[in-house]
């Protein structure tokens, strides 16, 4: 029986598919420092995240602090969802 991929797995799979990276992808691994992602991947990655997780990212949010690891991206997604769920 197929099980749904976790959100972390979805992000990991995207990185593997896009970059061909085959090593271990720990949630805290610095993807930028390890040159797994670069400035160009970030644009495509941001668009993938928007489409896959139904959130809208702002250009100011696409910075190292938010994108350097899978755990940071998950934190960004969670914060965007929390902000969207808040009543105006």
């Amino acid at each position: 029986m197929e099980t749904a991929m976790s959100e972390l797995q979805i992000l990991s799979q995207y990185i593997r598919d896009e970059t061909g990276y085959e090593g271990e992808l720990a949630a805290d691994l610095d993807l930028l420092e390890k040159h797994i992602l670069d400035s160009f991947n970030i644009v495509q990655w941001a668009m993938f995240i928007q489409a896959e997780f139904q959130i809208e990212l702002e250009a100011e949010e696409l910075v190292r602090d938010n994108l350097s690891s899978l755990s940071r991206v998950m934190a960004l997604i969670d914060s965007k969802r929390a902000a969207a769920a808040k009543p105006n």
Binding site: D38, S39, F40, V43, V63, L67
Partner: protein, 244 residues
């Protein structure tokens, strides 16, 4: 020790690694001795944007003129910046919410290099430019800054009818090399410059191929050649069809 010796060859390949080692040895002997290895690149200016408008919109590109306060924050030496303005170079600076993100410089017709005595002559004055000194402040690296600067610069160049931008890169700056290749650049020539104090010996794969300069006024005039395969309207890349 062995790892240090082998690492340049692993990183740059056998030939470039050997050049790198010779350069390092020369630098150890004297700061006035160098062996430079440059690649000459041709980069098409795409018709389509590199960034979706929603991301691109947060950046603004402004032309920086001589005397502007932003110049003081640019890492190049003041006399270098002055010499660029004297040769009619254009400096474009990117800002995000009024914060200075980085800059890029362009020359048209010709570019007088400041690291070695060489003037690069562009193949098609109307449709080509020479880009140099793209710089991003550290806090903006690994974000959208680099792509945003090129996105805005491409728009600026397209509006001027430029189809290709040329540049020279040191063969050993691998991140910059990767970035240019990702933007569609291709290598159209190579150039080696042996600097022995005031003497500079240039060997290039483009005319005039060989030049020896003994003083500041004697510069190599290197004629860049357009590759025949440059498309009339190069396609865009990163944002692709998802841009919107």
């Amino acid at each position: 020790m062995l790892a240090r010796l082998v690492s340049p060859f692993q990183e740059f390949g056998l030939f470039a690694g050997a050049i790198y080692c010779v350069d390092r040895i020369l630098q150890r002997l004297s700061p006035r001795l160098r062996l430079q290895f440059y690649e000459l690149l041709e980069q098409p200016i795409p018709e389509e944007p590199l960034l979706p408008p929603r991301f691109a919109g947060s950046f603004e590109l402004r032309e920086i003129r001589a005397g502007a306060p932003e110049l003081a924050r640019m890492p190049a030496r003041p006399e270098i910046k002055s010499s660029r303005f004297r040769q009619n170079a254009i400096c474009l600076a990117a800002f995000q919410k009024d914060e200075f993100v980085g800059h890029i410089w362009f020359c048209f017709r010709a570019y007088q290099e400041d690291e070695v005595r060489c003037t690069f002559l562009l193949p098609d004055a109307k449709h080509s430019a020479f880009d140099f000194d793209l710089y991003l402040f550290p806090e903006h690296r690994m974000g959208l800054g680099f792509v945003a600067i090129w996105n805005a610069a491409n728009e600026f160049l397209r509006d001027r009818g430029v189809r290709c931008s040329y540049s020279r890169l040191t063969r050993f700056n691998l991140p910059s090399r990767r970035a240019h290749l990702r933007l569609g650049a291709r290598c159209i020539g190579r150039m080696f410059v042996l600097q022995l104090a005031k003497l500079e010996c240039t060997l290039a794969t483009l005319p005039p191929y060989v030049h020896v300069s003994c003083g500041e006024r004697d510069r190599t005039q290197l004629k860049l050649r357009a590759s025949r395969s440059v498309p009339e309207s190069p396609r865009g890349s990163l944002a692709g069809q998802q841009a919107g």
